[in-house]
Symmetry: C3
Subunit: 137 residues, 3 copies
């Protein structure tokens, strides 16, 4: 089991950012330092350490999909909220999108579908954000 932390700086109030290559880089480092066979299989949990951001898997090709997801969730912006910080929609979206994704690993590679990318979902940026990676083999 390996725990790694990675950090990203978001640049907008709300956006999806493809972090697939950042996770794959960490996986490459583990491969290079590992005494294990190169066919090592396992999984990684990608976990966001925040309550106004989430992690999801979605299309890595057309960037319009990322924008469409952000826009569809604006349906929750119109609700009546009590939390005085004013970022309640971000909290709601974080819980709906979820705080982590668990991805299979085969031969030290993320076993994703052809169009799948791992997306960090910023709902209250721009901020510096921490992502925790738990690798298991």
């Amino acid at each position: 089991m390996e725990i790694k932390e990675i950090f990203i700086q978001t640049s907008k109030k709300q956006e999806l950012i493809d972090i697939t290559s950042l996770i794959q880089e960490e996986l490459e480092k583990l491969k290079n330092t590992s005494k294990k066979n190169v066919t090592s299989n396992g999984f990684v949990n990608v976990f966001v350490a925040h309550t106004t951001a989430g992690i999801t898997i979605n299309e890595n090709a057309d960037p319009d999909v990322k924008e469409d997801i952000i826009n569809a969730l604006k349906i929750f912006d119109k609700c009546q909220f009590k939390h005085l910080e004013g970022n309640s929609p971000a909290h709601v979206k974080a819980s709906l999108i979820g705080s982590s994704v668990l991805i299979p690993i085969e031969n030290f590679k993320l076993k994703l579908g052809q169009w799948q990318g791992v997306m960090f979902a910023e709902f209250d940026g721009p901020r510096k954000r921490k992502i925790i990676l738990n690798f298991y083999f």
Copy 2:
């Protein structure tokens, strides 16, 4: 750790399909080939390799529940979308429902609640779909 792939053919544009027995079948095969003690405990990650479908756990008794979930999510069909393929609502629903579920295993059986079934959520069918099972003991 064992990685298995299963395939299903969906038959509608949108539907929930109970795949619990398909997962339990793979678990039975592992039990039969295993040298492990029959009380083996662990978990399985059920992961969908697509961006317009999801995996969720919900009621396995009344089929109306599956239909009600599909219908409730149509709230996202009316949004303004940019993605030219026209299936943006399916991408949104996939991220909301999520791409995987992690289920405890006890004595080579899925440790689900009495009314829980594992549901494949098709949002842009009918299609042939791939599901990746990661078993850990």
Copy 3:
């Protein structure tokens, strides 16, 4: 691998209940009985064995956030439903919030962000509810 079951009694029709300390208590028990080094790392899957409740991670400070999440999800109360039990909105919300969260463990402590708490999401209470904890080290 350790499987533990914990039970909670909810008191409202709909509410988020912070169960972080209940999970940490089980982790302390494991630490005390463990022969492992005190720096043991791993993860825990927190899984709800019901179809009208969920598990999510969100803010542990201002209780208004919990209420705001419950209220935002009422957007699904107005849909047309077929399920005769009348609790379809609870089933929809359970699938959107999700049935489990996977949390990293470092030094026998949940590795959560500063403002993160693990929340049991009751959508059809009050009821006695079962939560399954899968610990891996």
